[in-house]
Subunit: 144 residues, 2 copies
DNA sequence: TTACAATTGAAAATGATTGTCAAGTTATCA
DNA sequence: TGATAACTTGACAATCATTTTCAATTGTAA
């Protein structure tokens, strides 16, 4: 099970970094929270049970999680950096409601193939990709 | 020609806003600059010929250009908001080199159609979309 | 356990962007 | 044209997210 935790520990020790209580707590909270939280939102969630964990520590740890490949940084419309866990290797994309901020994830092999083709035409070696569709979800349209 | 300038004037008057010398100068500079500049970069470019145009005015004007549909806001890896002129109505996407920062624009009707399909499946009405591929360009790969 | 390097929390610093406000401009309409 | 009201401007302060600093604390390799 706790393989994510193990791989984080491994990443840390491989890089001469230390496994600390705070880092493990933050990782656990991240994994058991909804996706696409910002560092601040995570900090607020942690505060009730761990009021002694500092703001900067959450920021620093999220960056570590991104560096270690456990999480990915995302930037949607707003100003904050959001994080999502990296589950498997499939790419997925986002559909974001301008009205309520709801984020729907989707995958699409045909799109992915076309993207690879485009990259190939330009002789690019892709590292990552970002695809976001913004619009109004049915609920928000109805609410008007 | 100056139809972009005309449509900006029209947007302003339709919204009870005023056509000012500064706004016209900023629009001209924006249109005659490379794409994907940030407000700050535009401010720096303007400074030599128009040292009296303030920082905040450039920010405010760029926002107006985005609101009026003349420009689009873009967020790439870095922290700054960048602007690009909206040419016609076609959607285009970006291929960005992690090595040198080069940005290549491309269009692809097949991808666009698939995106519309996805939005339709979720009953979303799309307002805009964002698609970015990050990777290494051939030059940067060779340089290694 | 020791000893040293990494980490923490709190607070200050940073960088991009936005707000404030007095003074200056623009557009309208008499 | 000129008065007037409303919008803008520039300078600078404020804000927001994030990063840095630093003294005190805590992992960890030996």
């Amino acid at each position: 099970m706790g393989s994510v935790r193990d791989s984080f520990r491994e990443y840390l020790s491989d890089h001469g970094l230390k496994t600390t209580r705070q880092r493990e707590i933050i990782l656990d909270e991240f994994l058991s929270s909804p996706s696409h939280l910002s560092a601040e939102e995570l900090y607020l969630r942690l505060r009730s049970n761990h009021p002694n964990i500092g703001y900067a520590t959450v920021y620093r740890t999220m960056k570590l999680l991104a560096d270690s490949g456990i999480a990915s940084e995302r930037h949607f419309g707003d100003r904050q950096t959001r994080y999502e866990p990296n589950i498997g290797e499939e790419h997925h994309y986002h559909l974001i409601c301008n009205g309520c901020g709801k984020i729907i994830e989707f995958e699409n092999g045909a799109i992915e193939q076309l993207l690879l083709d485009v990259a190939g035409e330009h002789q690019f070696t892709l590292s990552h990709q970002r695809l976001e569709l913004y619009g109004m979800c049915p609920d928000c349209k109805a609410r008007k």
